[in-house]
Subunit: 517 residues, 2 copies
């Protein structure tokens, strides 16, 4: 039974999610038009305003941005402020992620400057405004890999990609490794600049030609604009990027590491990815100890990279890091000086429609969750009250690619149960989630019968997911979370990495479910 | 008056050359179809034969190759031998360059396995066979930048790109920096893999996943084939890559360096490119001395890189090297260990149809010539007897891009005059050649009147080009070179970087001229 509409105004036809890792067959990529340059032509423009002229930005244009400066990014705000001053309307903001610092976007939505948003992660005031129904069209929430797919396939057609460039030269070479706001790897814009109609580098560190550390090359860049500040490099470090130290987190981490060991994957060449959360990193620390004990080396870590991963690289536990984005300044420093700390594009990282992304090669991934349900579905998109506070990022991508996808979570958060009947928003399909590790035991997806036996044989505390749910409810201060009826219009569409739709999010936080297989 | 045909069988309509650095406006790029990969799918294939099956290679297919192993390359021969064994016919070989080691290609031409060739440089037996009229369709000679343009625009549609991979992993990541046949930068295949229908990495060093030094990433590669040897790394060093030491060459080099100094370009940030010939490198040495004397630093060198450039990088005379191809093992070693020695794709290097290639940023380029004529046109494609022995490579690209394009040459070679009435084949248009430096003086293109005054003021021995021609003829053992009448069918088409045609080459070495502007 399909409860949601099959065509949504401002979004178009909905293709419901039909299974992870379906064979996509051969997928088409689009070409484009590039403005060519004769010798001596000048790419430097004095202002962002001038770049909007030069790129012929009109009402309805799609402008793309990236989030390597995370909650310190100043470029999205600068560009939209310039657009608003010009009276531009109906812009489509295609930002790889949106943070609290992008709060001015709320005003641009209110004024009709921005009427469409596509992003892999939306937190802070923008998520709240969208949940209140302020954006006239549904927010499109992609995964990081799905965004790269949409760019390459032309489904997300970008008129102008604005690259927050920690350093640039006058020909448009861009470096993430130099400048006052060095952010390290530039994996997300690497995918944008390949397909955008125009590309503008916005920098606060214009350096002599040519840059000695080029991350995005000149022949893909149309214009260079110098501004006083592209953002606050301190904002790169947002959220926890050190291992948790409390007893409960450490216990969960130890169990998760034991799950990996029991799975048989913790052998020479073992690879993994973790989020930057405290439990994830504590798990990484526990895995690290087991690797050291077992003499296991020569693996890799991928995704967003922290100083913790760098320490493991330098300790010889990784052969290389494949970094789409640095999560802290220790990672930025490492990316700057260590050639074995390699960058990768969003497409190389996680796009399901290329010839094989890095996520396909992961042994294990450690992920968090806001909610998990009885089908192992995970929500990292909305809060218990239904308000948008995130999105997949690489969550659904890595879960689909890794041999072993582990969700580590406490049973409750802020008094609410995290294991529930049905997730508020389906971000990552349960069929791609193998194990849920909590302080009350480990639940194994029934699809992974053999894995359950392995974990049981290793003496791990296996419980079924319903048991975890019961324990979660028991410990919650709020016995049953509020379950508002689906109401209001669709304010956001949660897209799976292949462009199908896993869920619809309605205003006032209510959700309409698509049929599950 | 157009003497040549406007449509050539096996080539199509001829667009005659209409001027260098014309405004190409906005240029379209093509998309393609990529076969996607689910987690766990295997890219390793046991043989090249298996890759021909997997890529569904049929009669008439276009197979591309690159020449980073130069005269040591084994991959083109291996693939075509496999194709011949299968009875494939009418293949189109799109190799970035062809050397003497590719002599087996002559047999494949004779047997109808290969009936089309596109390349930026063809020397050795293949050039001779083409000149004898053995290839049934005209050889298309592009520039290095023009080849990248044709690839991106879809004018050169590649079915399968074979990448000679000094190292690869099972997911298709490729490194030029590792393995027994490490060749350094991989600039040419970087452009092929972006657009080819299929991409096959052929390697003799299959390493654990993931490579710690990735030059071409996995998501662009379909298959990996391991072979005993991809070639002979000693063949990378082919031709002279050390400065000449004889008195005449040194005199020419000193004069060329003095020309650069007098032009006013030899200031902070000065950049240049040289070929790998002895006179070119002797000029680089003379420029180096002047830079050291003047305390000039922080420039760059681009193109094919030698140990000589590496020494200058390490001496602090360059901020960075932008390397499309390493010309010797010293360059390979530097590329492996020095991050300031950066790789670049053929498109970034020289494609006139992107947003601005590196050649556009060159101050000076030092180039050689087989012949130069009274219009400053240069031939580096055919010998005096009209037989194909080379092609533009980056010659026409750098001449068009650089502020100052200098041809350094002796007046005669093998007894023949090098300055003649009209070049046998027009490779690089005279309008992009600024100065010709010989042992008998310096000729300045009349288009560069101000430059002539600068050189005169600096006391340089200025003569007009007719004077150089007279001196050249006087010194030649053969007073006038044989000038066979245009005869036979068109065996090769010399394309300018924008896809227009600068010249047609007929069998028996005779040439038909297109009108000059």
């Amino acid at each position: 039974m399909i409860l949601g509409p099959l065509e949504i105004e401002g979004y178009g036809p909905v293709r419901p999610f039909a299974g992870a890792n379906a064979d996509l067959g051969s997928v088409g990529t689009v070409g484009g038009l590039r403005r060519t340059r004769r010798p001596g032509e000048v790419k430097l423009l004095p202002t962002i305003d001038a770049s909007l002229d030069a790129c012929e930005v009109r009402d309805g244009a799609t402008l793309s941005f990236h989030h390597h400066l995370r909650n310190g990014d100043g470029v999205l705000n600068l560009v939209l402020a310039a657009a608003a001053r010009r009276g531009l309307k109906d812009l489509h903001v295609a930002a790889s992620s949106i943070f609290a610092i992008h709060a001015p976007l709320v005003e641009h939505i209110r004024n009709g400057v921005v009427t469409r948003i596509t992003s892999a992660f939306v937190s802070g005031p923008v998520g709240e405004a969208v949940s209140r129904g302020q954006l006239p069209t549904p927010l499109v929430l992609t995964t990081h890999g799905g965004r790269a797919r949409a760019l390459e396939a032309g489904a997300l057609a970008v008129d102008v990609a604005f690259v927050a460039a920690p350093a640039a030269d006058r020909s448009g070479n861009i470096s993430g490794r130099l400048g006052r706001a060095a952010c390290g790897a530039l994996g997300y814009p690497m995918s944008d600049v390949e397909v955008a109609g125009h590309v503008v580098a916005v920098t606060d560190a214009l350096m002599p030609y040519p840059l000695p550390a080029i991350d995005i090359p000149q022949h893909l860049v149309d214009f260079v604009v110098e501004v006083p500040e592209i953002g606050d490099p301190a904002g790169i470090l947002s959220g926890t990027t050190r291992p948790a130290e409390d007893a409960t987190s450490l216990a969960i981490a130890e169990t998760a590491a034991a799950v990996i060991a029991a799975s048989g994957l913790l052998v020479e060449g073992f690879s993994f990815q973790t989020g930057a959360g405290g439990v994830s990193l504590a798990t990484a620390a526990a895995v690290k100890r087991r690797m050291l004990e077992g003499g296991i080396r020569r693996s890799f870590a991928s995704g967003g990279i922290t100083g913790f991963h760098v320490e493991m690289l330098e300790a010889g536990l990784f052969r290389t890091l494949l970094d789409v984005q640095c999560f802290d300044l220790a990672a930025v420093n490492s990316f700057r000086r260590n050639p074995a700390h390699q960058g990768m594009s969003a497409s190389m990282y996680a796009n399901p429609a290329n010839r094989g992304p890095v996520v396909n090669m992961l042994d294990a991934v450690i992920l968090g969750a806001a909610e998990i349900d009885l089908d192992f579905n995970v929500n990292v998109t909305t809060k218990a009250n239904g308000v948008i506070m995130g999105g997949s990022g690489g969550h659904a991508d890595t879960a689909a690619g890794a041999k072993l996808a582990i969700i580590t979570t406490r049973l409750t958060a802020s008094g609410f149960p995290k294991l529930i009947e049905r997730v508020g928003t389906l971000t990552t399909p349960g069929e791609t989630v193998d194990v849920v590790v909590t302080e009350a035991g480990v639940a194994v997806n029934p699809r992974r019968g053999e894995l359950a036996l392995q974990l049981q044989a290793a003496g791990l505390p296996i419980v079924d997911i319903a048991g975890l749910k019961a324990a979660s409810e028991q410990r919650a201060a709020t016995h049953a979370q509020p379950q508002p009826e689906p109401a209001g219009r669709v304010v956001a569409v949660s897209e799976y990495r292949d462009g199908t739709v896993t869920d619809l999010i309605r205003s006032a936080g209510a959700c309409v479910k698509l049929p599950r297989r």
